[in-house]
Symmetry: C2
Subunit: 225 residues, 2 copies
DNA sequence: TGCTTCCTCCAATAATCTATGGATTATTGT
DNA sequence: ACAATAATCCATAGATTATTGGAGGAAGCA
């Protein structure tokens, strides 16, 4: 008797966990999570950033909401989505880490997407020392809205697509430490390649904003216009 | 040009992560992961323990293998599956934690499955003190093969379904601290209810074997026959 | 009130996933 | 070589999910 009841309850519990698992079961949704880890966004902005039809993006967001991974906030006519908590970002980061560690296809796909890294990378410990020494400048190459939502204190903001035009904003004599969203974000790779092609000394930061936040390192949020 | 290439590569990378996400997208697979977190098992044993058709279990295990979550070892005619690493157990545990924190359905499903907890639970810190004081006995109520694959040092093994018959193996004067697989494992709940009904003092350990391992607490493995 | 914008809901189709029985492969024992 | 056992592979029916266009609901503004 109890067995019959409890076996249904057992399946219900595992299925509830699986509801959250399902949220991680689509590349598009993971892309949305990656964007949301940078800060809150409207549905429309998310759809554009992820290259999705508005309706499709909305549907994926509903799936994420069912899993409890995102929360919403209405502001006038638009609805802002955000991650429901740091633990969600942590789960997302761990999924990627485990996938990279155990799934042969990931390193290959990673290299194909990010391209070669000719310069290596710098740890945040080293960055702190070099910043203290006045030796480097930190550059955030994400879209401005993500910079505004939270960035490394003291970092300059030049989105990678404006970098060629605005390179004169960067001091010529310092090494440039570039970061973007996270470990698998292509922007910093592209930026470092561009900067070195233009004769600057540039290196990627080991962490993107995602890892930086999860390490509980300090974050500045601007409310610049 | 690079954009066209890289957008395909981008999707490929996210889809590779999603392959691992998909492994978490079915209640049955999560149940298999839960079992595998206790130690390696053959396909047949897993199928029986999870109440699955052998073919279905095999198919789910292939999905887990594709995600890189499990590894196999052949021994004669049978194939033993095991988790590919501690990080997989960690991911599984975090998924459950995040789901419970953010998904309203989980606490309800949890209570429906586990039943009421009338006694509360004991932390592993407290357990250590009580064991040192010779105040308690630790009881593992999982199936014997899981006990053999790894258990808390000094714990007795009486599977919950044999508990009523073998209760005389437990000292009468000590409080009994019961544990099983993990936070959502019903065995310890059932055992504590049974023991208290039979007039013993019994309490659940806060951790199951999953959490115990992940906390890097000491584990004994027997090679009893 | 009517119009616009942003988003969600609904319906339909295509694609994918789950579960299962039967066939196939790998290994062991006779 | 043959039979037996354990597991995977294959084909398929049924269920679930993804995507999209269009309708509908909620604010805000004229």
């Amino acid at each position: 008797m109890r067995d019959a009841t409890s076996s249904g309850a057992k399946a219900a519990l595992y299925d509830a966990f699986a509801t959250s698992g399902k949220a991680l079961a689509s590349g598009k949704r993971l892309e949305l999570l990656d964007l949301l880890a940078q800060g809150e966004r409207t549905v429309d902005a998310l759809a554009k950033a992820a290259g999705l039809n508005l309706t499709t993006a909305s549907a994926h967001l509903q799936t994420l909401k069912q899993a409890g991974f995102v929360a919403t906030r209405r502001e006038g006519v638009r609805i802002h989505y955000r991650l429901a908590g740091d633990d969600v970002a942590q789960l997302f980061a761990l999924l990627r880490k485990v996938a990279e560690a155990h799934q042969a296809a990931v390193p290959a796909a990673r290299d194909a997407y990010l391209g070669e890294d000719t310069t290596g990378e710098m740890s945040h410990e080293e960055l702190r020392a070099r910043v203290a020494a006045g030796d480097v400048v930190v550059l955030d190459v994400r879209p401005v809205e993500e910079y505004l939502a939270g960035h490394i204190p003291g970092a300059l903001s030049i989105p990678v697509n404006e970098l060629a035009d605005r390179i004169n904003e960067l001091p010529e004599n310092l090494e440039i430490v570039v970061y973007c969203r996270g470990e698998y974000c292509v922007l910093a790779y592209d930026a470092v390649r561009l900067l070195t092609d233009l004769g600057r000394r540039a290196i990627r930061l080991n962490d993107g904003m995602l890892e930086w936040r999860l390490s509980e390192l300090p974050v500045d949020a601007s409310d610049l216009t």
